[in-house]
């Protein structure tokens, strides 16, 4: 197929994608979650699906009368808000026993218990007995990324699914992670990392929570499934709210344009350490546990550091800003005149003189440098769904029938995954698990 035809097809695709966007509710470049100041969460059972065909009992926090969610709803609040979380215990257990109490703790928050729903005393906080409600309240004093999880029999209940994320938007604006210019972002993605030992879930499904008593599962823990935002790859890359994953509404599909700032909110939701490795570029870690890495108040994240693997710790949160421009690749990511007339373009570094094109963020030092590889013919290639047929950003080229369907706009993809490589599996089947892809779309390609 001639390149020009492809180019036209590409433009049609872009237009069609834009048209689709108009039809759907634009979720924006923000993290899926529920907003407000009062949240009605309900503890329930549900069943999650894993890509290897597995189905596992979970205990999850539901949004009101909705389904249990793994993880619980992402609570998005504004700095300074008085947040109320009403937790109702509708948990049921196998064997007809009394369902256990449930609760929520909020690390990094000063929580009080509402007198209307005082709950009953527990080890870490007040709890809701079966059928009852407890209401927690706190003022979201500090912006940032936080987590919440069960404070009752936590080794079992967090494993079963009682955990989630809280995002406190700063007064400076929703596109800031914290109240400082250096915490500004264009897009944000949540990475809530968990693992699962199915023996525990099967024991609870068959015998209720008493099923783990007498086993050593909680001490001699052996996970075989790993999740980002409650999904294992490749489900991480499916759409959010996919109807076939009713208990796992959140996806994890980071998307961005060159030159944009992608805020990574990394939450350790389980009990293990996870080194989260993001290909493509380094990321600047600006905060931990909802606190800017600052040498003094108002300095901004002057103690931030660049990493290519974010060390996620259980119960802890990390905010990092990822940027990608293609700088340093050594060739022009938009092609050269030698590749065809449709690739002719300029690199205009005039308005903001920073070495990059003012609009496309092309790295001007590499402008018009040829792609250094002679591409093999299609007959000599094996294909992945993300290959567009072209090495140039935003371009497509001929592919065998049925190939390239995951990347209709000719974006660049980078695998983001746990660097504990055994966590990139679904029950010993590679690839899967704690893995997703970053999709960098060409400038002008809409991202929802």
């Amino acid at each position: 197929m001639h390149m020009r035809v492809i180019k036209t097809a590409f433009q049609v695709t872009v237009l069609f994608a834009a048209f689709l966007l108009l039809l759907t509710v634009n979720a924006g470049a923000m993290i899926n979650g529920i907003t407000g100041t009062t949240f009605n969460l309900t503890a329930k059972t549900g069943h999650i699906s894993t890509p290897d065909g597995g189905s596992y009992l979970i205990w999850g926090y539901a949004n009101g009368t909705g389904l249990a969610q793994y993880p619980g709803p992402t609570l998005i609040v504004n700095q300074g808000a008085l947040v109320r979380v009403k937790l109702t215990n509708n948990l049921t257990v196998a064997g007809g026993g009394t369902p256990p109490n449930v609760s929520i703790v909020f690390p990094g928050q000063q929580v009080t218990i509402a007198s209307a729903d005082p709950g009953v005393p527990g080890i870490l906080t007040k709890e809701a007995a079966s059928g009852k409600t407890v209401t927690y309240q706190f003022t979201a004093t500090n912006p940032g990324t936080y987590t919440y999880y069960s404070g009752t029999d936590s080794a079992l209940q967090i494993e079963m699914g009682f955990m989630g994320t809280i995002i406190v938007r700063p007064t400076k604006g929703a596109n800031f992670a914290y109240n400082h210019q250096d915490a500004k972002f264009d897009r944000e993605t949540l990475f809530l990392l968990t693992e699962m030992d199915p023996r525990i879930h099967q024991a609870v499904e068959n015998f209720g929570p008493a099923g783990v008593v007498g086993t050593d599962y909680l001490a001699n823990y052996f996970p075989v499934l790993w999740f980002i935002n409650g999904r294992a790859a490749p489900d991480t890359m499916a759409e959010p709210m996919a109807p076939w994953l009713p208990y796992q509404p959140y996806n994890c599909m980071p998307m961005m344009h060159p030159g944009e700032k992608l805020l990574m909110r990394v939450v350790g939701g389980g009990r293990d350490l996870h080194p989260f490795h993001h290909h493509g570029s380094h990321a600047r870690v600006i905060a931990r546990d909802g606190q800017l890495l600052a040498s003094a108040p108002n300095t901004g994240p002057d103690l931030s550091t660049e990493v290519f693997t974010i060390q996620s710790q259980p119960g802890s949160t990390i905010d990092a800003i990822f940027e990608w421009t293609g700088k340093g690749l050594g060739w022009d990511i938009y092609g050269t005149a030698a590749d065809g007339p449709e690739f002719i373009h300029t690199c205009n570094d005039t308005i903001v003189v920073d070495g990059f094109d003012d609009a496309t963020h092309e790295y001007c030092a590499d402008h018009d440098k040829p792609f250094p590889v002679t591409l093999p013919t299609n007959q000599e290639l094996a294909f992945g769904g993300f290959y567009s047929g072209s090495p140039f950003l935003g371009s497509l080229n001929s592919l065998p029938p049925g190939q390239g369907g995951l990347n209709p706009n000719g974006g660049y993809t980078y695998m983001w995954h746990s660097h504990t490589e055994k966590e990139m599996v679904n029950y010993d089947i590679f690839p899967g698990g704690m893995m997703t892809m970053l999709l960098i779309e060409a400038p002008g390609v809409p991202i929802n």
Partner: protein
Amino acid sequence: MNRTSLLKCLRIPVLLLVAFFSVASSSSALNLAAVEGRWTPPDSAVPITMWGFIPDPGSCPGAPVAWNVGPLQTGTSGANLTINLRNCLSEPVSIVIPGQNTILTPQTITDGQGRVRVRAFTNEAAPGGTASYTWNNIKAGTFLYQSGSNPAKQVHMGLYGSLVVGKYSEATKDVLLLFSEIDPALHGTPASATPLNYKPKYFLINGKAYSSGQPIPVVNGNTQVNKNLLIRFANAGLMSHTPVLQGPHMTIIAEDGNRYPYARKQYSVLLAAGKTLDAIWRPVKSGTYALYDRSLSLSSNGAPGGGMLVYLDIKPFPWVLFTAPITSGGAIR
């Protein structure tokens, strides 16, 4: 130069030298014994065989003692520290303190194939014998002391304790939280026990494992609201833990006895095996605060609940000094 002026010239340096030596030569001697002990798990009346350090009773005990972590040792920054060790165990024992400088004299054995292998990091006390260890000019901070002989076995058998040197100017009160684990399967026959299949089932802070339904251990720093409290974390176990203080943020100020140039505000810390961390916390509200392992070592012999959990008791202001400290509690009030 005549004799008098020579003496005059020397006087000040000599005085300085004397002053220097009077500081540097200040030393303390501690006497420990390595003994067999028994630790009774919270869920069971069957005691587990342990090895441990106790204050030296002068002679070896006639029967196993009740096991606990080694006694808290304290030292003065810049001083010399001597530990005299009596070995009441059936194999050689020694003591090392990671982070404190001294000259080690590794001990070797020749194995059955004629290979020379290191058995101990430094000189040992033979069974029934004694040994002495000195660290000069010790540095301030929180440290672990532990066996330097066959440490893969002897440390998890219980031969560990904490050393605290000096004080931080920021806090007058401090608490120490020593994390460790016990795998009972390796303690039945300690002579051959190795940790290759280490799968601990009890998770301890300061030698105690909380068990569901029992009183929760309270670590009492005798501290009150709006006063800085220093929390010293130490991990003598073989696994990493993630202690979290439920609610407020702490300010992490030191790691392995080294001050951070800039403190870090976190509500949890990664406490890797063998590591120490120091944190300052200024409670703004009195009450009971839970501190637990977010790596979920929160079970006891497989039973849910229990494990690495303590309460910190913060007194209201003004706190009457003679109020009896709370030693255990049942639930968050």
